[in-house]
């Protein structure tokens, strides 16, 4: 066959292919019904693509932090309970029947975690999976938060059952379940002023304060209820004393403003949070986020972003230790 003949055949085939593809789109020839499922070969191609994409992009194993902290596992379990269990079910349970008819069907949590390493689970939970119904993390900048969920998923891999899950996720109400003060990674609300709590909820809802966990919580609650909720859980007591502060908290340094000018006794501004007795690991995480420029919040957020720039890792630990130990 001449070159001209080959080119003619290729052109005709390409034209037929384009016409066929156009017809599928234009006349609805492809059946998008979830009932109809995929062919086995399509299923295989999609899932293999997904597995290889995760393997290519997951963080290195060396980036996986210590996931054994019970407080981290509890935080992850509670977020899972509110945001993930609706599709993947809790350990030992089944998802609602409606979920089983998703295409692809979300795997029950024990099966979902089975093939993956911690680093791979982090990538999947943070990024989500396109065309599967699996969403990405609501606050893309907060990769740190995702490790809590991974810590929980790893506990499931290691055999957490329905009883263990129930023990982690119980509580009187959705909010107090996390915020009752017992978890070092979750802030206490009873020391915060109502205006500060309310402003924070709005910031989470708007995304000006980035948190996948709290974005979920703040959108589950109607904004109309924020003010009443803040009044109920917050306090209007004056800021308590802060005895024997470390020097950096008392007067600051050439590149660090003093903490207590805003967060100490004598400052009556209700838009500034009290730190006395606040959860230790939560405080440290927030200071890292401020320093990295990730932490937003209300209108005064630029103050803390500027204030935290000069803090060292050691000072962040000293400050978190000091304020969390105060009565």
């Amino acid at each position: 066959m001449t070159l001209r003949g080959i080119l003619t055949v290729v052109a005709v085939l390409a034209g037929l292919g384009a016409a066929g593809g156009g017809a599928v789109v234009a006349f609805g020839l492809y059946n998008t019904s979830a009932h109809s499922g995929h062919w086995a070969v399509t299923e295989w191609a999609l899932h293999t693509t997904f597995e290889n994409a995760v393997a290519l992009r997951a963080p290195a194993e060396s980036e996986v932090p210590d996931l054994s902290d019970p407080a981290l596992i509890e935080l992850g379990a509670r977020h899972y309970d509110g945001a993930c269990a609706m599709c993947h079910a809790s350990p030992g349970e089944m998802a609602p029947a409606t979920i089983a008819w998703m295409e692809p069907e979300p795997p029950q949590v024990e099966q979902a975690v089975e093939p993956w390493t911690a680093a791979e689970m982090h990538w999947i939970v943070h990024e989500g999976v396109k065309m599967s119904g699996m969403p990405g993390w609501p606050a893309a900048a907060r990769e740190d938060e995702v490790w809590a969920v991974v810590a929980f998923l790893q506990a499931v891999q290691q055999g957490m059952n329905a009883d263990g899950y129930a023990a982690l996720t119980g509580g009187e109400s959705y909010c107090s379940g996390c915020h009752d003060g017992g978890n070092s990674r979750i802030p206490r609300l009873d020391i915060l002023s109502p205006p500060y709590i309310e402003e924070s909820l709005h910031a989470y809802r708007l995304g000006t304060r980035a948190s996948g966990i709290m974005a979920q919580a703040a959108t589950v609650m109607s904004p109309d209820r924020y003010a009443a909720f803040a009044q109920r859980v917050g306090t209007t007591a004056p800021r308590p004393a802060t005895p024997n502060p470390p020097p950096v908290a008392a007067q600051g340094r050439g590149d660090v403003p003093s903490c207590l000018s805003c967060h100490g006794a004598g400052n009556d501004n209700p838009d500034i949070p009290t730190l006395n007795g606040q959860s230790r690991d939560y405080l440290a995480t927030q200071l890292w986020l401020w320093r990295d420029g990730v932490r937003g919040g209300g209108e005064r957020a630029p103050l803390m972003t500027a204030a935290a720039q000069g803090l060292t890792d050691a000072e962040i630990d000293i400050l978190a230790d000091y304020f969390s130990a105060l009565p």
């Binding site: 007067q251 903490c259 805003c262 004598g266 501004n269 630029p302 972003t305």
Partner: protein, 332 residues
């Protein structure tokens, strides 16, 4: 047409010359010296200019002479004399003399001070200033303004916080670079009382051009009185407006960065505000200490001065800003 073009060209040159010469006078000019060091530098500049004019004229005159006036062949002996004398010996002697004259000035500018030491640290983008009178054990701290007495040599110890800057008050003396972690020194002996302008003279970042200060030269008596007032604690707020302003100053956390001596405010990050209202300028030589400029500055810091450390307090209401400004205006 050509005539009128030439005429407008001449007018343009004349205008440019007038503008350029106008730039030579005034409170930020090395050609209007107000101190001993600046006078030396002024003389140096004149001598260098005269030397350069002589050298340029002589060399070009010679070139013109040999190419146009006597372009014919020269005897080799004369030509060698002209080349060695006019091209080697004359410029070497002239430039060498100018160099020796210039270098002979340098020890004077590093001469010992008469007692008063002023430490200046260049921050981003402002000046932290400490006065150490002879025998002092603690400094008198202020910012964004240098005050010096006439008739005595003051020692300036300079360094920088983060970037390289340069200290320069053209009317008082030469430049001196300011480095993080390394102290440089210079001494100045001002002579004529007045208000002069200093400017950072080393490109240091986005607000380099907005990093200036006033240099106020006082007679020794006036200087002693000013320094005594500067050492005193701040005046308490005198009006209800200023009292509200002080409360706001506390509740907005201003004292975390700014010190106001005699109050609880003892921050170390930003300029000391104890006697802000007695200064000639606001924001390091770029605004005035007026109600309008104070409110404008507090609410729009980073629009006015890119990347300055102080965040803009743009959530404060106009009335709150006015109260804050009233408090600051009372810090005489």
């Amino acid at each position: 047409m050509i005539r009128s073009l030439a005429g407008s060209g001449r007018r343009l040159v004349a205008m440019a010359l007038m503008m350029a010469l106008a730039g030579c006078a005034g409170r930020q000019s090395a050609l209007s010296p107000a101190g001993e060091d600046a006078s030396w530098l002024h003389d140096l500049w004149i001598v260098m200019l005269v030397g350069a004019v002589i050298l340029w004229t002589a060399l070009n005159g010679l070139f013109f002479f040999v190419t146009r006036v006597r372009p014919n062949d020269w005897p080799e002996r004369h030509a060698n004399r002209l080349i060695i004398g006019g091209g080697v010996i004359f410029p070497t002697v002239l430039v060498g003399t100018l160099l020796a004259y210039g270098l002979s000035m340098m020890p004077h500018m590093r001469a010992d001070g008469d007692g008063l030491v002023v430490k200046v640290r260049a921050e981003e983008w402002w000046w932290r200033v400490e006065y150490w009178p002879a025998g002092a054990t603690a400094p008198i701290v202020t910012a964004n303004e240098i005050r010096l007495p006439t008739g005595q040599r003051t020692e300036l110890l300079l360094d920088a916080n983060k970037y390289i800057h340069s200290f320069w008050v053209p009317a008082l003396g030469g430049k001196m670079d300011m480095f993080p972690g390394r102290e440089t020194r210079m001494t100045l002996r001002p002579e004529t009382p007045g208000v002069y302008r200093g400017q950072c003279a080393e490109f240091c970042g986005p607000s380099h051009a907005l990093m200036a200060f006033e240099a106020v030269i006082l007679t020794p008596g006036d200087f002693a009185a000013w320094l005594e007032a500067e050492a005193a604690p701040a005046a308490p707020p005198a009006t209800p407006e200023a009292q509200r302003g002080q409360t706001l100053f506390r509740d907005e956390g201003c004292g975390a960065c700014h010190a106001v001596r005699g109050t609880e405010f003892d921050g170390l990050v930003g300029p000391d505000l104890t006697h802000l209202a007695s200064r000639q300028s606001l924001g390091a030589g770029i605004m005035e200490v007026t109600r309008e400029d104070l409110t404008d500055w507090i609410a729009h810091t980073r629009d006015i001065k890119p990347e300055v450390a102080m965040p803009a307090y743009d959530w404060l209401e106009a009335a709150e800003l006015a109260d804050l400004a009233a408090y600051l205006e009372g810090l005489k």
